[in-house]
Subunit: 328 residues, 2 copies
Amino acid sequence: MTDGPDRAAPDAPPRPSVVTLAGGVGAAKLLSGLIRVHPSSDQLAVVNTADDTVLHGLHISPDLDTVVYTLAGAVNPDTGWGLAGETWQAMDALDRYGGITWFRLGDRDLATHLYRTHRMEQGADLAAVTAEIAAAWGLELAVLPVTNDPIETRVTTVDEGEIGFQDYFVRRRHDVGVTAVRVAGVEAAQPAPGLIEALRAARSIIIAPSNPIVSIGPVLGVPGVREAVAARRDAVAAVSPIVGGAALKGPADRLMRELGHESSVVGVARLYQDVAATLVVDESDAYLADDVEAAGMACVVAPTVMDGVESAAELARTVLSSTGVSRG
Amino acid sequence: MTDGPDRAAPDAPPRPSVVTLAGGVGAAKLLSGLIRVHPSSDQLAVVNTADDTVLHGLHISPDLDTVVYTLAGAVNPDTGWGLAGETWQAMDALDRYGGITWFRLGDRDLATHLYRTHRMEQGADLAAVTAEIAAAWGLELAVLPVTNDPIETRVTTVDEGEIGFQDYFVRRRHDVGVTAVRVAGVEAAQPAPGLIEALRAARSIIIAPSNPIVSIGPVLGVPGVREAVAARRDAVAAVSPIVGGAALKGPADRLMRELGHESSVVGVARLYQDVAATLVVDESDAYLADDVEAAGMACVVAPTVMDGVESAAELARTVLSSTGVSRG
C-alpha cells in the first residue's frame, strides 16, 4: 500500500470528491448533513488535532472523537460531544484521590482513549488508529487527523500567561482574556499521509463552521496544507462560524476580537479569503454580503444554524452547490 | 524528611512493630485480620510489584490495589480483587474496538490506575503514589511497594515460551505448563525507601500466605531484602499458602511442583527455612509438623483458612504470638 487516504482508512477511496476541514461540534454537525446528501464513502474529514492532550497517560483527541461519535449517531445530543447515555463511575471514583476530573471522561468514552493509547504504544500512528476507530463505529466517510505529529494549541492569557488549550477551553471555560494563540510543534509537523494528494484531487473542499483561530487555524497551519488549499481556492467554500456577530458555540467571537479581528462574517472572510472562494453566511448576516464580497469572497446566504439533521443536510446541499461537486 | 516509611507514607511510624511481606488476595485477608488485633498505625505491608503491568498506557499494580481495597473494606467479596459493586462500561465499550478486555478493569477501579499513572508521569515514585492512594481510602497501615523500580515476573511456558505474568495468570488462567519463572529487572532494583530499616526495627515480620514463587519470591528477590529478613529470622513467621497439598487460590501448588518443589507445607518450609524461624500450617497438615521441623522451621498448627474477618483475626493472633510482638 502507498501513502494516501487508503493507507489511513483502508475502505476509503484514494481520491474522495469531498474533503472537509473540521474542528469539533460545528464541523461534526455539518458532516452529519454532508453524509446525507453525498455518498459517505466519497468523503474525507480532515480533523484538527491541536486540541489533543495526554491526560492520566491517555491520548485524548477531542475533535476526532466528536466527529466520529456524531457521524455514528452516538454523540450526546445535549452537549454535542461525548457519548449519549454515558456513565461517570471512573470520574466519580477519581474524586476520592483528588485526581483531575475537570476534563470529564465518561466510562464508555474512556474505552476510546484506552484503545487509542494502546495502539499508539504498539507503534500505530494516529491516522491508522483513527481509521480503526471510525471503522469500528461503522463510518464509511474517512476520518483523518491533519497530522500524525503532536501539535498543541497554547493560549496566552492575560492573568496566567501561557496555558494549554484544554486548560483554557474546558477548565477555565474560555472565560479568560487572551492575548495570543500559537500552535506548538506545527512548524515541524508533516501533513497526514495522503492529505495533500486528497486536497489536490477533491472536487469540493469545505471549511466547516469551526473556530477559525483554534480549530481551522491549526489545520491550515500544518506546513503544506494552506498552500494546497489555496491552490484549489475556486473549489473551496467555508461556512461562517460567526452568526450575527457571535459564535454559536465556544469562544470564536471573543478570540477573534481579542486577537484583532472583526467578530463578524466580514472578519471571517478576511481570514479565509486567501484559501477559499466562497463564504456561506447565515440569513441574519445577509446585509453584510457586500462587505464579504469586498473582502474578496463570493457570499452565499443561507440558513446556517443546524438544529437537526434536516437543517444540516440543507446547509450541506447549499455548500456543495456553491463549489463544484453537485454541478459536476 | 529522610528516607523511611514516613517518607512513603507520611502518617506511618518510621519503625512499625509489624511488617508483613505480601502478595495479593491471601495476604490482604491476613492483613485484614492483623489490623483487628494490632494497631494499624503500627504496621507496614510490603507488597509485591512484579505483577505490575502497563496496559492501555496505564500503570496497574494488582497486588497493591488488592491490599488497599481489602483493608478499606471495598474489595469485591466474590473475587477477592477489584471493587465491590463495580460497573464495566469501559470494558464493554472497549469490545467494540477489539481492544484488550481479558484483563478486566472496572470503571471505578480505572480511576486508581488513571490517578497512579498521572502522578507517576508527574514524577512521583510508586511508593509515594501508593501512600496517597492508601490515605485516600483511609488506611492507617502503611502500604509500601517492595521497590520503586520496575520489576516483572516472566513465566516460561511449555507451549509458548516466555510470557508476561498477567498473560500467564489472567489471560491463560495459569492453565499452562511452566518450566521457569524469573523476575526481570530485580537484580537492578533498589528496595523501597525505608524498607530495609523497617525490617531491621520490626518486632514481627510476617510472610503472608501468598504464592512463594511469584508473590513472595520477587519481594525477597529485591537485593538486600532476603538478607535483611534472614538477619531477623527469629522474628519471622510465615503462613503456609499450601493447605492439604493444594493452594487455596491460584497456581502455587502447580508452580511449586513444576519447578521441582514439593507441593506441601514441607515444600514451603524448605523454601522459607533460611529467612523464617516459624511456619504456621493448617490443622489439616498437622501430621506433617515433624517434617516441617526437620526442614528447619518451628511448626505452629492452627486453622489457616480465612473465610471471614473473624478467622483472619484469629490467625493473625496466632501468627503474632508465634513471633515477638504479642509477648513483648
